[in-house]
Amino acid sequence: MTRETTFNAVLLLGLIAVPTWALIMDQPFTITLATRAVILALAAAGLNIALGIGGLVSLGHAVFFGIGGYAMGILAHHAQSYSPLMDWPFVIEGTKFMPVIWLVASVVSALAALVIGILSLRTTGAYFIMITLAFGQMFYYFAISWSAYGGEDGMSIYVRNDFPGLNTLAPIQFYGLCLAMLVIVLIFSARLRKSPFGLALNAARQVPARLDAVGLNPVRLKLVAFVISGVITGLAGALFADLNRFVSPTMFSWQFSGEIMVLVILGGVGRLFGPVAGAVTFVALEHFLGGLTEFWHIFLGVILLAVVLFARGGITGLVAGKEASHD
């Protein structure tokens, strides 16, 4: 077993043990914190496919997070107000059934990622970053102006959505659901990176011109990765909205796109559990340093600076060595 595998196993076991620890220590709020970390890890795991394997520095991933959030918000809003989402040419009702919400969040995120990807991937480098950022801003201001769904104030959902066989209002059960989703995505990511598609995508990041010469289209590979990445981040958005029972335009903000990227860099770009390590560290810092000062981001900045300068494999690289890093 490599050091990285051991580190990943410890991290996963730690997340599984959180509810037990919270009950023993009588700190139920810890479960909500851990749920937040797991959902952010899920969003970052999505970005890690585009950024870590495909080398796509997207500053617009909050678009997909926001789409997932608003998919949940809009469907649940119509379900709780008993008003149809659409009544012509056919009636579409809202729903509070999580699997349907996730399906809608995935499909809409995929379509958005496809359109954004087709346009953005015509460019590379700084231009790609700027185009994805511009899309993020477009969605952000659209959400602000969308008064039917709360505009700038956002929208509250009174009761958490349903999942068959679970009481999602119980923090432990909702946490378990989010953790299961994260594990599924991590297993998918692990298989994807070892698949011919994942290997070709990795190769496209390294020497795109070389890939052309062996009959593979690097732009198409990156587009598929961008769509997969968007779907996962969209799912995270739907869960995040359910956690807070609230959606607002800040889910689309470029600051949030940056935050997801910070999670990936902090944990280790391209590392399977990098997003998990990054999200857990981020939420822990937010909680503990945030209790000391509201300017806790200054300390986060210093840590991020140290990671970029001295530990380019992120926390995972620092603990587990450099063997699989993509820095």
């Binding site: 011919p196 290997l199 070709a200 990795n202 190769a203 390294q206 020497v207 011109a209 070389r210 890939l211 052309d212 010469a213 062996v214 009959g215 593979l216 289209n217 690097p218 993509h326």
Partner: protein, 228 residues
């Protein structure tokens, strides 16, 4: 019928014209040497064949007009390029480098490792840590994994130790003997080319100046246009 048919090929890098009329035909199963001094247009010809630069003139592969195709689509017709400078995917292992580009056909991991046993021994090794010769074998293996009908080797033995060069020439000889793959070789070692190639085409200032059977390449032609 020619597998690759090039006639009057011209190409430019911006305002600098590099090719002024290259003629080159390769039939299935044929091994052809593309020769000439440095800067005479050999690598530019290869780039034009692989659609990495735009060119004018007749450029057909298996009846398809390559001008109409993007480079990855041209490669899918069966063009396998081993580029100058190897350019392996450094973060991937040997096996991953090979699998990343594989397409269905007789050339799979087992066949490549049989041709280059060194690669078989180092399947799990990150390619950046391979020696130059091993990286060259990997570059050839990677091209073979696409199951090409025309394999193009651009300076495949340049800068390698003599023993590694021997291994690579032995592999090329085996490819000629055991497969019906056409091979276009660019190299400066006339003696080795003479042993494996059926025909030679010589370029001078971006133009074909000599073409014929390898056995007919006399020392004076070789010295005049290739410098050896």
């Amino acid at each position: 019928m020619s597998l690759l048919q090039i006639k009057g090929l011209t190409a430019s890098y911006g305002v600098s014209q590099a090719l002024f009329g290259v003629d080159l035909d390769i039939a299935a199963g044929e091994v052809v040497a593309l020769m000439g001094r440095n800067g005479m247009g050999k690598s530019t010809t290869v780039k034009a064949i692989c659609r990495m630069i735009s060119a004018t003139g007749t450029l057909r592969f298996d009846g398809h007009d390559l001008h109409m195709l993007q480079s990855h689509k041209a490669a899918r017709l069966g063009l396998g390029l081993v580029p100058e400078g190897r350019r392996c995917f450094r973060d991937l292992t040997v096996a991953e480098n090979l699998l990343a580009t594989s397409r269905a056909g007789p050339w799979d991991m087992q066949a490549v490792c049989a041709l280059f046993p060194r690669l078989g021994e180092r399947q799990g090794q990150i390619s950046a840590s391979l020696s130059g010769g091993e990286q060259q074998m990997l570059a050839i293996g990677r091209a073979l994994m696409t199951n090409p009908r025309l394999l193009i080797l651009d300076e495949a033995t340049e800068g390698l130790a003599p023993i590694i060069r021997q291994e690579i020439w032995a592999a090329i000889t085996r490819l000629k003997r055991d497969t019906d793959m056409a091979i276009l070789l660019i190299d400066k070692t006339v003696s080795e080319l003479a042993q494996v190639c059926d025909r030679a085409v010589v370029l001078e200032r971006g133009k074909t100046v000599w073409s014929g059977a390898m056995a007919a390449l006399t020392p004076d032609v070789s010295e005049r246009y290739v410098g050896v």
